[in-house]
Symmetry: C3
Subunit: 348 residues, 3 copies
């Protein structure tokens, strides 16, 4: 594909030779003369020097280079669109594989691709253009919108409600029982039926082997546009806002409320029954033990405002030095006292 055509597709300003033939994309260190690369973080600007790419997507404020450029105010987004432009997605086989087991009361929209061994339960309803890869299990009574994508080994449990354009990576479990057990008088546990559901709104993406638990009563809800990475745990009754991103191995205990446009780094944990406000950012491995105010950045376990945390951490790394300084002060003071006492004793 000619660079000029790519520029047009991506709505980027072309600076350089539009006739270059581009055959694919690559990272800034690997890209060759027939490949397009990108630079979105100016931290890596020095990598431009040795870059052998045929062309590069970058922001208007990047220093000039000899390489042909596609200038974009949002270079990462333009790169994303370039990847999509060159990507040949897996072509799903239309129709229903003969080994699939679809309940007679289940309803499918149009243009579906139902893989081998897929199981769809009674009274399940799935919209148009559904792609279900092999070995997916859809329990009874689910409601799923259009453009649903479920990769192999996905499970959608009974009565889950799923919007349009939702995609689930392999092994994701939507609507497994929440962890609800009431202690009895003899210190054993009694199971609490998890009678609620899970709702995934439109444009939600769920990662591989991630678990979104059904609520005890009511629902667990993931709001529209939210993206959840692999191996994440969403406890029963939690609500996650819109356009929020949860990185891999995040864990939300039960009844956690997460706002809109929140970003939780990898392995962040949040205790239950608390509220994380809109636009919060939590650094990886943060332990969120109480409410987090909208707009704040937190770090540490339990969490602190990231500025406070940084000041603490500065001292934390110097604790042995601090101890030495305190010891030195103690010695000096004790010297003073000796001198004084000595003086005192020799008085009269």
């Amino acid at each position: 594909m000619k660079l000029a055509a790519i520029a047009q597709h991506l709505d980027c300003l072309l600076e350089g030779d539009g006739n270059i033939e581009i055959r694919g994309l690559a990272g800034i260190e690997d890209a060759g003369p027939d490949e397009l690369t990108f630079l979105s973080n100016l931290k890596y600007v020095k990598k431009l020097k040795n870059c052998r790419a045929g062309a590069i997507i970058l922001s208007p404020d990047t220093p000039k280079t000899k390489i042909s450029r596609l200038v974009s105010k949002t270079p990462y987004l333009s790169f994303a669109r370039a990847v999509n432009l060159f990507h040949e997605p897996l072509e799903p086989t239309p129709g229903i594989h003969p080994t699939a087991s679809i309940a007679s009361t289940a309803q499918l929209g149009e243009d579906y691709s139902i893989g081998a061994n897929v199981v769809i339960g009674e009274d399940a309803r799935i919209g148009d253009r559904a792609i279900l890869h092999p070995n997916v299990t859809i329990y009874p009574h689910v409601r799923i919108g259009d453009d649903f994508l479920a990769h192999s080994q996905v499970v959608v449990r009974e009565r889950s409600v799923i919007g349009n354009r939702v995609s689930l990576q392999n092994g994701a479990v939507i609507g497994g029982d929440g962890f609800g057990f009431a202690p009895t008088e003899d210190a054993s546990f009694e199971k609490i039926a998890q009678a609620g559901i899970v709702t995934l709104e439109d444009d939600v993406d769920i990662g591989s082997n991630t678990c979104v638990d059904r609520a005890t009563i009511g629902e667990t809800r993931i709001k529209s546009g939210t993206k959840i990475d692999n191996l994440v745990q969403i406890g029963h009754g939690s609500v996650v806002g819109e356009n929020t991103a949860l990185a891999a191995q995040v864990g939300l205990a039960g009844s956690t409320k997460v706002g809109n446009r929140v970003m939780l780094g990898g392995q962040v944990g949040a205790a239950g029954h608390l509220t994380i406000g809109d636009d919060v950012i939590a650094i990886a491995q943060t332990g969120i033990a109480k409410d987090v105010e909208a707009g704040s950045r937190v770090s540490g376990s339990p969490q602190l405002d990231v500025r406070v945390w940084r000041r603490n951490y500065y001292v934390l790394q110097r604790l042995p030095e601090l101890l030495r300084r305190v010891r030195s002060l103690e010695r000096q003071l004790s010297e003073h006292d000796k001198v004084k006492k000595g003086t005192g004793a020799s008085d009269p």
Copy 2:
């Protein structure tokens, strides 16, 4: 269902109008006039004021309200039973789905429900009233008791031994190979056969995508009544006691011994070859690096007694202030010394 009938079922004292028709359960903030709610943690007592529920389950020491009450010494347990009362569980289809593959030497008890694509290996034995949802895989030579429940995508590996009333949420893996590799002289690894088994005793519940590894030799054992949440890792040769609760994303390395009635919070990790005594509570994200005495509460990574940890944490949050105070002391002392030297110098 009339409130009076519910009171009788739950063995609660009814205070108020027994004729109220209750149609379901809801949280204290969401419940409407035909719903029952509960208050088990007096921390939330102020929520009573705006509560619109038809009735509420609460403990005898809760302040009086206008809402009809079901008084219980264990309100959370009564609530659990109320949920179970209203819950209509998924009705499993009796019999064996035609797509299931059951080895001729496998034995099933009575009244089973075996879903689509379920695979049961040679010489597997499963007791009465088993429910196996679609796409479950039971390897050869397992021994499973009565009232077994396995949700879709569950795997029970060869020779695992499972008691009565055990339930496994979706994607749980019982008896996968432990992480056993011996380093060789050339720094590569040699696989150690994981020749042991997993034993799950009666009334154990395992969460979605949780892994309980088989032992190298001997067994990994989860004792009766223990409940394990999602995405938990139980390393090979570990033993977890009775009526213990492990929250989501907990990880036990190999040969960990966990006592009875222990509670490990979310994302707690325990190093291998150590013992966690009975009745221990570990706060979320605790890193357990050495033995924990029975009855203690621990926090931090590596763990400290929670009282010690709290005192440390109090200072930890004030480290920059502590540094300032040390600096100030240093300045003052240095002033002293100057003054003294000055004085000394002016000594005649």
Copy 3:
């Protein structure tokens, strides 16, 4: 099996009665008179006293005992081989189960065992002696070498490249989509096609429910001999070196570079776009936030050199005492000042 024969098989020096009949292996505390045990960590040497094993594998520097001994310079490796000697692995059923769905363009080598409901996609190529347990899904266009072992519920996504002697425990997902979403101007996310692949080199072992994500462009690569435990997350574009071991619940964000012979403890997390050098050891729960030099040992979150971390931790545990000492210094100094002022005031 006679102890003398075992000694020969394991290439160990026999000291004691070679005629003892050994029927299996057991831990040092559990082993009986017809069992073989081992002692590899001299920390546990006092356990020898009550050991009732028929024989024991140990290193030349272990104190003498009455038990018959197999002396080995690498006792753990010899133990591993002894386990393998006694282990009777699951015998896979040769051939293809009638319920398996194998695309007509897929190619299998010789001597395979393909379980029930296995699905193999178009143009997939798998080498000799493959064992695929029930309910495994192999997507189209994969390339897999000889001696491949995939346990039930495993997924290998489209175009993945897998070497020889690779084994995947249950529920592992190889090549799921990476977590790639570009923020748009309205704060929503746009999916970036994950157009790259995953490559697993020879002799790689992957644990249960572990996820190795495919790259956005290029590849995610796990190099030869590397062993990965359960519930691990490998982000897109990461490269993990040779003979490296990642313990359970480790998480690598995107584009992490991990060296050879690295050992990451359980629940370690690494931020993206960083490099962990060869032979690095990270203690469990370490948060790796920046590059780690080859050969170093790190701990803490964010990580510190383990020696620095230990010195810090020593003080960290004594923070309340440190605060008291600072307070005491402040009091003493303030006393001094008072005395001085007092003296000064009484100056004539």
